[in-house]
Symmetry: C2
Subunit: 614 residues, 2 copies
């Protein structure tokens, strides 16, 4: 470091502050003071340490910078300006309709890997990015995560600390911008830097405490972090609103733009508008390693009943030999979800995240940002633990391939805490999501294969118990399709099921047939997008639709069917939703389905009643 370096960093820090003030003032909203506290930290990083080619953001050798404190978006965008990536004019479009410079950063901007703005997610995502560099691609890029002090209260941060240490991610540096002030007052630990450092040390990290406005200390800390044999936490004491006397360390300025009548004074105190342009150091010359031996075995086939969760695991194991980009994350239930089958053949691409679902989806989000085809899952019920991570994944335009086993009351004895009966609603509601629920082993194999190339959030729900094989191995299952399994020229009623209820619908159809009621049976394996034309036609042709699902009556297959009907024309006929409407307990799978009114007898009874009332 030279005196010139230090002077340039100080100037750059001031520029980032000025531009944070200006952009948020132009928007009349945003978080300038939370940006100003971290400006010096980012100035030194971008100028000297961040090996990043702004002209080639997809270069796999680039370092990664993640703003876990996504509300410091004025600082990110000001940094993009300083790097010559955006113009000053664009900077001032911040938060305006149509601008890519949204209130919080998202990957519609080429230099942003993932969306942040829900606190406590950037570091878990950073773990995934670092894991890819360290364990998968074996590239020596470094991952830098800027964290807020308030978000250290989120448990997901400590999941990330745990995993980063466990996997020896010495390529990961987290920086806490300890500006002391949260949204409503002082954080739990204020400026007690030790409190953060001692926690991180206990979790196995190297820690460095610094004055976050002293560029010399910042420089030394980055050098030390880069050389550490463990993940490093830099705990930086800063001031919120640093550099402007009426903002610095003052309460009441969180998430507020500097008003027009004070903007000039703020900029003047910061030394005026600057237009320094820096070029971060470029990435080093290395190539990603291709992991995994490829082979071209045929897909598994089945004749005997098989649980779809088992077929799912076998599909992943089979695909491991075809797709070197495939990575599977587990939350320590691989012997239940059957990802252990993948682990057995591709252990180097299997990542054990232990019982930490948020960290699992966070790491998955990081891995997919690096181009990995990453599957992650656990019991469907426990994916709700990561609901906010999945929600943010949609905003990240991430390709998250999720799976949930142990669907519905059909798991039986384990009881309601283990039963996924709200998962379809959670996944259906997300923007651009795909929701799949296969009824047999062959449908599972085909749909898992399809999921590998689906964009956005995709979710597969699997069943605990074995179900009969009802499809040929070469049957195709397009997303948005359905299978009309049983039909005649003269169907009196339509039964729609998915997954396990395809089988109870078939059972009901058999019963009804003995009573000379001919039922059409539709397997709605693609719950979203759903096959609206087929459902519409069934309603028009039979006049009665009975939908049975092993899920709560709200938000799942029944609502999808009604939505499809409403969207395709005037309403007619009748639709009967059979689903879980009370709180389940323990019992056998069959007892629980009978209790919920979704077994063959209940479906037959509902259909019989509707036909009689016609």
């Amino acid at each position: 470091m030279t005196a010139t370096d230090a002077e340039r960093w100080r100037e750059l820090g001031q520029q980032l502050r000025v531009d944070s003030v200006r952009s948020s003032a132009a928007a009349n909203s945003g978080h300038p003071t939370s940006s100003m506290s971290a400006a010096d930290l980012m100035a030194v990083l971008a100028d000297k340490y961040l090996r990043y080619d702004f002209d080639a953001p997809e270069d796999p050798r680039n370092d990664h910078l993640i703003f876990s404190k996504g509300h410091a978006s004025p600082l990110v965008y000001s940094l993009f300006k300083a790097a010559g990536a955006i113009t000053d004019e664009e900077l001032l479009t911040f938060r305006k309709l149509g601008s890519r410079l949204e209130g919080h950063p998202t990957p519609i901007i080429p230099w942003v890997d993932v969306a942040t703005g829900s606190l406590g997610q950037g570091l878990p995502i950073g773990v995934g990015v670092a894991l890819a560099g360290k364990r998968l691609d074996r590239l020596d890029y470094r991952v830098w995560v800027l964290c807020g002090d308030s978000e250290m209260a989120e448990g997901s941060m400590w999941e990330a600390f745990e995993h980063a240490a466990f996997y020896g991610l010495d390529n990961l540096t987290a920086i806490i911008d300890v500006n002391r002030l949260g949204q409503t007052g002082e954080t739990m630990h204020g400026w007690d830097l030790d409190s953060y450092a001692k926690r991180a040390q206990a979790f196995g990290w190297h820690t460095i405490e610094i004055d976050g406005h002293d560029v010399t200390s910042i420089d030394a800390a980055y050098t030390e972090a880069s050389a550490a044999d463990r993940p490093t936490l830099i705990v930086a004491r800063t001031e919120k609103g640093h550099g402007v006397s009426f903002l610095a360390n003052h309460e009441g300025w969180h998430g507020k733009a500097v008003p027009a009548d004070q903007e000039g004074a703020a900029i003047e105190e910061l030394g005026g508008i600057r237009s320094l342009v820096i070029t971060p150091p470029g990435p080093e010359d290395l190539k990603p390693l291709i992991l995994g031996e490829l082979h071209a075995e045929p897909a598994p086939t089945y004749t005997d009943p098989v649980p779809t969760r088992k077929a799912f695991g076998e599909a992943l194991a089979w695909l491991a030999g075809h797709r070197p980009d495939l990575v599977v994350l587990d939350a320590e239930v691989g012997n239940s979800t059957h990802t252990e089958d993948f682990q057995a053949v591709a252990p180097e691409r299997f990542v054990q995240m232990f019982i930490a679902e948020q960290a699992m989806v966070g790491a998955q989000t990081g891995l997919q940002a690096l181009g990995k085809t990453a599957f992650a899952g656990t019991f469907g019920a426990f994916l709700s633990r990561a609901a906010d991570f999945v929600r943010m994944g949609a905003i990240s335009r991430a390709n998250l391939r999720l799976f949930g086993s142990h669907a519905g009351v059909s798991i039986g004895e384990d009881g309601p805490s283990q039963m996924a009966v709200e998962d379809l609603a959670m996944f259906r509601t997300l923007h651009g999501s795909t929701v799949l629920y296969p009824a047999d082993g062959h449908a599972t194999i085909k749909l898992v294969t399809t999921m590998c190339d689906l964009p956005g959030i995709s979710y597969m729900r699997t069943t605990r118990e074995a179900t009969p094989v009802i499809y040929d191995p070469d049957e195709e299952f397009p997303v948005g399709g359905s299978k009309t399994i049983r039909t005649s020229g003269d169907d009196a009623v339509t039964l729609i099921g998915a997954g396990i209820t395809v089988h109870t619908c078939l059972e009901a159809a058999d019963t009804l047939a003995t009573e000379h009621i001919v039922a059409r049976v539709i397997d709605a394996y693609s719950i979203k997008p759903i096959d609206a034309p087929t459902i519409r036609r069934a309603l028009e042709e039979t006049g009665i639709v009975v939908v049975a699902e092993d899920h709560r009556v709200e938000g799942g297959l029944g609502d999808a069917v009604l939505g499809a009907i409403a969207a395709t024309g005037p309403l007619s006929g009748s639709v009967h939703k059979l689903a879980v409407t009370d709180m389940p307990g323990s019992g056998t799978a069959e007892q629980m389905r009978a209790w919920a009114g979704i077994d063959g007898a209940s479906i037959a009874s509902a259909a019989r009643g509707a036909v009689a009332a016609r």
Copy 2:
């Protein structure tokens, strides 16, 4: 402690193990080995330390025992047998249909406070229970939480560690049953007791490391914990399946009953069936403190537009003077959600949980178990962080009063990460839930008041921006009702909105009126239960329903309306759902509503088109 004590504890430990083996063998499912590891820990606790009257589980002076590792249910139930609370016959109904001894414990059993079974939740709930004793009721009961070692990977546990230390909860003792083996193999830290202890110390806890099968050490640890000036973590080294040679510390026995042909050998090795009955020490004689000054001010009223979030905060502040049982939890956004208004008048009943939504809902679950009327919330988007806690709250039959501010794209500039557009689906899907979304200040006041006495999960969604006052202060808003705000004898179309879209529906109705299209406008403030008869009648009378909601098109108001129609008779007419169907960005509230197609102009256009097509 006498030699007799130690001998009794050892015998009791063996009995608990035998009964864990027997009950799960009878069910042919369950987790005996995870129960056996903690049997000695629970034997000493129940016999000497747990001040609990099994004949009076509602006694507010009782200690609380929470099994955070809920899968050790055979151990809990065996303990109930040992305490004489259930018979041996009932013990053997474990996991059978109709038995209250479900796969994982729930409060349908009188001696269970809360449901567990989703790992990492018992300790955060225990924080709430301890907080009530320490800060609210000022009772000296003690809270004992039995934790598994696998669940220490859940970040929610570390949120709990943080809060327990911050609030000085010296009445809380957590015990980690370090049996080394998770579901699929060794945990992250195996038998490294120090790894847990040093983390907990860093978070401000007192820690004790012991051999979890040595009753003398266990006894000493409980005595030490009871005297500590901080929350205490007892880290106990144990063996999974302890006491039976073919189970003890063997992999492959997680969640498996001992097969019938090995059950006899297991019981024999444990010394046979016993029927010791113990009586835990009773609670001490103290009375709960009543906090808060009561006063009888009238409810707030409004004439000018007011944000419903602001009316919400003012409602809580007003109710603070009427209800000493009212407690409000915040996730450090009280100046946005306006719970700061409650904090200002009742600081002793306001609990700051910082940015830790899981811990917030966990503590709330604990507080309501103690009879508190507890409200908790944050931005609606961030409640998804606590989705699994809310899901488990439903299984706990907990009365969780939740609120989410900043609903929909109407928040404007902050962008999608801060917009609640999936929250209605999340809350609608839960068993027994109530979902409320007021359109003005007066509706808010009435509905918050109603929420105070609602059972189960209730959710109120509030709006960021000010909305006009459209109701009189004395208007009533029953749950399950709606308001037909505008109607004539000859309505051509029905517009249904809730919250912000009530106002855009009114705007649309004004526009349509100028075109001589008379629109009925319904405010569906009660989204669940929804006013099905009124909606049915509107569809029958007008033939066209347009539903507009500031939420994703799946799982929200539109689906609720369709469900109500399907449930009340044959389908007829047409229903048009206007909702968020693409990924939002930043813009003003009005721009975002226009973008989503839920502003007045879009609603008018949809209605106009539907009327023309009739």
